[in-house]
Assembly symmetry: D2
Homo-oligomer: 241 residues x 4
């Protein structure tokens, strides 16, 4: 890649602004800030941020046009994301923009719209330990990892996760409370590539974990747009006489 | 299966009611009528019909609750299908109801919503000959077929077809004008199974073709609900101490 | 299905014949005996058995020709299975015979040959508890199950499991020692369907577990041959002038 | 990628050495020479060659150890490839080496061993025109292509192609004689990625076609090894107390 990969990290950015919420201590520059910082540890990537309460949620046409890869974190305010912005993001994904969906963004409008399912799951805020196993070690998103990632204390997500079966399942999460989860899921929609990655509850410093940062950087490269043909749709003439 | 498989054949049913349209001659009892008739050639299946202009498009809660498999044909009036009916159909699919999407219903609201993509394609009404090749001969939907189906004159659909890659690709269509198409596509969404089948333009007697009827009957059996667990979602207690 | 589904349960049958081995107490009629007994609890299925030390390992041409579904259990004597018998089994699978591969048969010649990979994994005979989660609740193999199967004490198998990604992943196993495993894996090879199912170490009474028996019966029905076209290969004339 | 991608182009190299064979005129430096030349048009790639009649078929341990991506072309002498060399190539693929299988190498020992199926197909040397349609335009292997590749005169390959369903189907071929073919197929085996690409009969100058060269270069980059974890197999201790 000759040019920089342009990532926009979108965050709901509400928990971190409540002084009494643990996230305000863990992520003083917001979850988006921590993720963008982590991306800048990797060569060839540049990251900007956008948040819910900015005009147009920070996702103007200009920003979207200059975004190769969009990362999405949301939790409590999915319903406040305006439908016309969601439609624009979906159109950009279908046209090739990469999308990384993190943790509780499984319930975001954009993910549910692209999946076509409820994206429901089991969850628990408790004492769980999470260990992420690499099940597809040859996949570029597993580049540089060990055979598992010891995440430590995290919110539990458990199956059944109501998603279409991933085209490639890269990671599985084990939780000490007895559940497991498909935690690294690859999809293609239109010309766009999508990666769902499970960890990252706002009450834990997950996005400072070097392995988690590596996964997000690897994923940014993997979902990056390629320059394949823009499809021609509609009425066409025959190619043969 | 001890009991009858209950199929509802839904049709937009507009072309056939225009006296000047060829469909009025080819399908005097409607496309839905022809499809339901074809299903009744197969043991263990019973078929009813529903159409756009009936109250609630013929898809009341009672009808949906009694439907194991819904077949959908639409073309020119997709926008007239009410969103709340589409939402009910989607919910039923996620809960296990089978769905067969035929021909121009690639552009139906329900299919686009379940796929998450534009579902665009190339098309041409011309002199094309269609031949459907079986590429997955061990799949139940290919039961009883030869290695290809000579469909004859049909509307052409060509790639790129903007769908998620099918979980199983059973059929491919060859067109004499130089195009080809993924014409038999299997999906799972929630607990429901979906089959897209390409042929069936309203100006051709495709739904009287015995091979086409066999595919639709096979597909009805394949998408039929199974009795797997209804998932438990939401907050849960740990299973381990 | 009008006629009985004819299953042959193949077992290495060595552990159970050693009087000092726990398997001799748990499976006095052999693992194959227990599995066949379990299948007979389900209508429409008839099961015979075959074992390694019979002539031709009990898999004569006549037996294979009359077998719709072959179930394979092996552990310590994979190398004693003769290559020409393996070749015949592979040919039958490609022609449509179903195959269910159980537990340590992940390392059988027939499974490795059909997968093309090493089929290696992690393992431990210890104090692990196994819980199998249903991740694809709409799949016919999950019919009649709850959301998870409490297997209890079992040998642990852990990822990375060196298999091609399954076409459908139906089950995942959680182990108390910290590992997880893709434990219900569907494949198609030729016209044949294959299901790998993890549990069943010889030192545990796993094949008397009603849920395990249900899975094996469901799988036998799912891998059963369909009557799709037998492919035509080789030199052919054009279909178009 | 900081360092050069090291490709080895393997060729049976028999047709081109027969003075009366058209291939001797079309490929005076061998099919391998044309492919290697094509790769050198792309930055970041270096290509060497190896042929059947060299000692160890040119695939010594040293050569394999220095090969990131192996390209394989064979046709009439598959049986002359020694099994121990095939075993070494398979082991390297499972350990991460990329593999590109071209045209009639669908019948090579290495491809059949990695697929587990017969890899049979239909074929015809005649007057067919081949057109390759891009069905997955967002895939990196489609980078820089138009919506279809007009290959022109080529040998026909037709379905049923007896392979496991590809993990990603990138291309489909249309033939004027009435057949079609899955002509760009992606697989993962172990940590290795595999791409099968259809065109390239020895009697046509296919490997001088700029689009074909682009596909092969794109594929070399896509199958290139990543640096994911080398799996740990065998007996392990629990990670939890």
């Amino acid at each position: 890649m000759d040019t920089l990969l342009r990532v926009t990290v979108w965050n709901e950015y509400r928990h971190e602004q409540k002084p009494t919420h643990p996230a305000s201590k863990i992520y003083p520059e917001g979850i988006h800030g921590a993720i963008a910082q982590g991306l800048h540890e990797y060569p060839g990537i540049t990251a900007r941020t956008a948040t819910l309460d900015e005009p147009e949620h920070g996702l103007t046409d200009a920003v979207l046009a200059e975004t190769d890869v969009l990362i999405w974190w949301g939790h409590g305010a999915h319903d406040e994301v305006r439908d016309e912005i969601v439609a624009k993001v979906q159109a950009r994904v279908l046209d090739g923009m990469g999308l990384i969906v993190l943790h509780s963004a499984h319930f975001s409008k954009i993910f549910k719209r692209l999946m076509g399912t409820s994206c429901e799951l089991k969850w628990r805020e408790g004492d769980d330990h999470e260990r992420i196993w690499v099940v597809e070690p040859g996949h570029p998103i597993a580049d540089g990892l060990g055979e598992c990632l010891e995440i430590g204390r995290e919110e539990m997500y458990g199956e059944r996760f109501d998603i279409p079966a991933p085209e490639t399942l890269v990671f599985l999460s084990w939780f000490s409370g007895g559940e497991l989860f498909r935690s690294g899921c690859c999809y293609t929609r239109g010309r766009g590539k999508i990666f769902y990655f499970r960890p990252g509850h706002e009450s834990y410093p997950t996005y400072f974990n070097p392995d988690v940062r590596r996964v997000i950087a690897n994923a940014a490269r993997w979902v990056a747009p390629s320059r394949g043909p823009r499809p021609v749709f509609g009425n066409v003439r025959p190619r043969e006489a």
